[in-house]
């Protein structure tokens, strides 16, 4: 094997450590060196925990030397900075939480820790996961490893860029309206958004509680399946986590998609989609057909209503969730003279522009006189969107579409036009509204050499089918073997 250790997939790294070819410390050191070489340019990490990572790697090696093993023993991963990590600063990409050190760890992260991971650090995100480009981070913008002048997508842009730049073997993200799938697509990696309730949200600092879900950004589908297997399942700390059994998702990766019914929704192949994106996605669907899948034209007629529904439902939930940042128990406090003035000043100064915009929109949609017209109406149309999917999944096993209308756009291109930015999510938010699962898999490059993602969507708890289809496609193509060559050296 001529790969550097940082270039390995999780499965390759586990095989190497189990065979005694190298240690978790070797692997972790390789990644720390890679971070020093590359991350000054990409800026995927908000917080590095290199010392702690080496200590965890040593502990993993000691366990292995004692004859122990665990599903992710010694695997260096990155965690999106909206997931609480006990003793490690968790900012949500916001200045209001600049010095927040959580007293407890999110369940999803805790399960990975119990399975033996090494945490390299916390990745950059749009502030409170609100954005499609990572430009809304209160700290700095992350750069796309394929073209440093472009965004990595958002809001899990740090995690997407970290996997693409190979400064982590995989990373956790969160997906409220596409925030795992969009950066996966823009960065040319795999991005899995599990069904609502599949992974505990305990310790995920809430944005839109009926939509948020923890997901995975990984180098290939098998790695994503392994991480989901480790972190999924019921959690007594989250009453919205499903008490459903968790299979070993890797067993679903049979490579067999014969007679799999793949739906093609006409509403996702519309004017405004970049021609290279449409061509690559259609070619991917042809590949699935060649592998024996049956392609079925379908309709999801309420698709064009999803964006306004999302921006009313998500912002209403956000305005309630973010009320907790009041300068009393944690976070920035302006130290104003009265308690009411301190609420206003701490929040006014602590939150960035997009977060304030969404709190305002949500508060308006929930306010007296507008609740029925906006919030209730949006929830009713949400029912229609969900019913579209339920009807479709009576006919097909998975639905295929582009992840986004375009490839990664330039940094700054949409920064002053919130509506244009919101349109990046037009093909991903529908799944969150319906609570279903989906994945982004690399399916080609545009003329500028930027990655394109194929979205495969499945019904609630349909992860095995989605992973099986994604894996079969991935293994039939070579897109997942292409890697970005970001600038190496001092920034």
């Amino acid at each position: 094997m001529n790969k550097a250790l940082y270039e390995l997939t999780i499965h390759e790294a586990l095989a190497g450590m189990r065979a005694g070819d190298f240690t978790a410390v070797d692997l972790t050191q390789s990644l720390i060196e890679r971070i020093a070489q590359v991350d000054g340019h990409v800026k995927a990490y908000l917080t590095l925990t290199a010392e702690q990572a080496l200590a965890q790697a040593e502990a993993a090696d000691a366990r292995r030397a004692a004859g122990e093993d665990a599903p992710l023993l010694g695997i260096p991963l990155a965690i999106k900075d909206v997931l609480c990590t006990a003793g490690v600063r968790t900012t949500c990409g916001s200045r209001i939480l600049e010095n927040f050190v959580p007293p407890y760890t999110a369940t999803a992260v805790q399960r990975l820790a119990s399975a033996g991971i090494v945490m390299l650090g916390k990745t950059n995100t749009d502030e409170f996961a609100m954005g499609s480009s990572t430009e809304n981070s209160g700290y700095f913008t992350t750069h796309n490893p394929w073209d440093l002048d472009r965004v990595p997508g958002g809001s899990s842009g740090g995690s997407g860029a970290a996997v693409a730049a190979q400064v982590a073997l995989a990373a956790l993200g969160t997906d409220t309206g596409g925030s795992v799938r969009l950066p996966a697509s823009y960065c040319g990696v795999v991005g899995l958004k599990p069904s609502y309730g599949r992974v505990s949200r305990y310790g995920l600092i809430a944005y839109g509680s009926s939509l948020d879900q923890v997901g995975v950004l990984a180098k290939d589908v098998r790695d994503a399946a392994l991480i989901l297997t480790v972190m999924a399942g019921h959690d007594a700390h989250d009453s919205t986590s499903m008490p459903a059994p968790v299979p070993d998702y890797r067993q679903a990766l049979t490579g067999d998609v014969r007679r799999l019914r793949v739906g093609l929704p006409q509403e996702y192949f519309i004017a405004g989609v970049q021609p290279e994106v449409e061509a690559a996605v259609r070619a991917a669907i042809d590949t699935l057909a060649r592998l024996g899948a049956e392609i079925v034209p379908i309709s999801l007629p309420n698709t064009d209503k999803a964006l306004p529904v999302y921006y009313l439902v998500a912002t209403a939930e956000a305005s309630a969730n973010l009320a907790r940042f009041d300068g009393v128990r944690y976070g920035f406090s302006a130290g104003a003279e009265s308690i009411l003035e301190n609420y206003r000043a701490s929040r006014g100064q602590g939150f960035g522009a997009e977060v304030k915009r969404r709190i305002m929109l949500g508060a308006y949609a929930l306010s007296a006189g507008y609740y029925d017209a906006y919030y209730l109406k949006a929830q009713q149309v949400r029912t229609l969107i969900k019913q579209d999917f339920e009807r479709a999944f009576a006919q097909v096993d998975v639905i295929a579409s582009p992840v986004a209308p375009t490839t990664a756009f330039r940094i700054g291109e949409k920064a002053d036009d919130p509506l244009a930015m919101y349109l990046s999510d037009v093909f991903t938010i529908t799944l969150n509204l319906a609570g279903m699962c989906g994945i982004s898999v690399p399916c080609g490059f545009d003329d500028a050499g930027l990655p394109i993602g194929l979205q495969l969507m499945g019904p609630h708890l349909g992860e095995e089918t989605v992973l099986r289809a994604a894996h079969a496609y991935e293994q039939a193509t070579a897109w997942h073997t292409h890697w970005a060559q970001p600038i190496v050296g001092e920034a």
Partner: protein, 96 residues
């Protein structure tokens, strides 16, 4: 649908956000544009459609009523901007 500066100021007060005059003007423009876009929902007939606030079939999820350790006082206060005698310290609430 165009929000006035005063309407935006009212919403900012509901949300307990102190905004500058420039922010109020900007949000009046941007929120108006977003709400105009959202107005397309009004054309959808939802007269017989129940709302979906939540997608799961789980209702009335009960937790086992068993004592378990919780955060100790010091840990719970570790991120407090201000504290005194084991409590979060705030400005007086009834002396506006």
């Amino acid at each position: 649908m165009h929000l006035t500066i005063d309407e935006v100021r009212h919403v900012a007060e509901l949300a307990k956000l102190r905004l500058s005059e420039a922010e109020l003007a900007l949000y009046a423009e941007q929120l108006s544009a977003i709400l105009e876009y959202a107005a397309s929902l009004q054309q959808v007939d939802t007269s017989h459609v129940a709302p979906t606030p939540y997608v799961l079939p789980l209702v009335n999820v009960m937790a086992v009523d068993a004592p378990a350790p919780s955060l100790d006082n010091d840990t719970a206060l570790r991120n407090a901007p201000d504290q005194a005698e084991g409590f979060f310290r705030v400005r007086a609430v009834f002396e506006e």
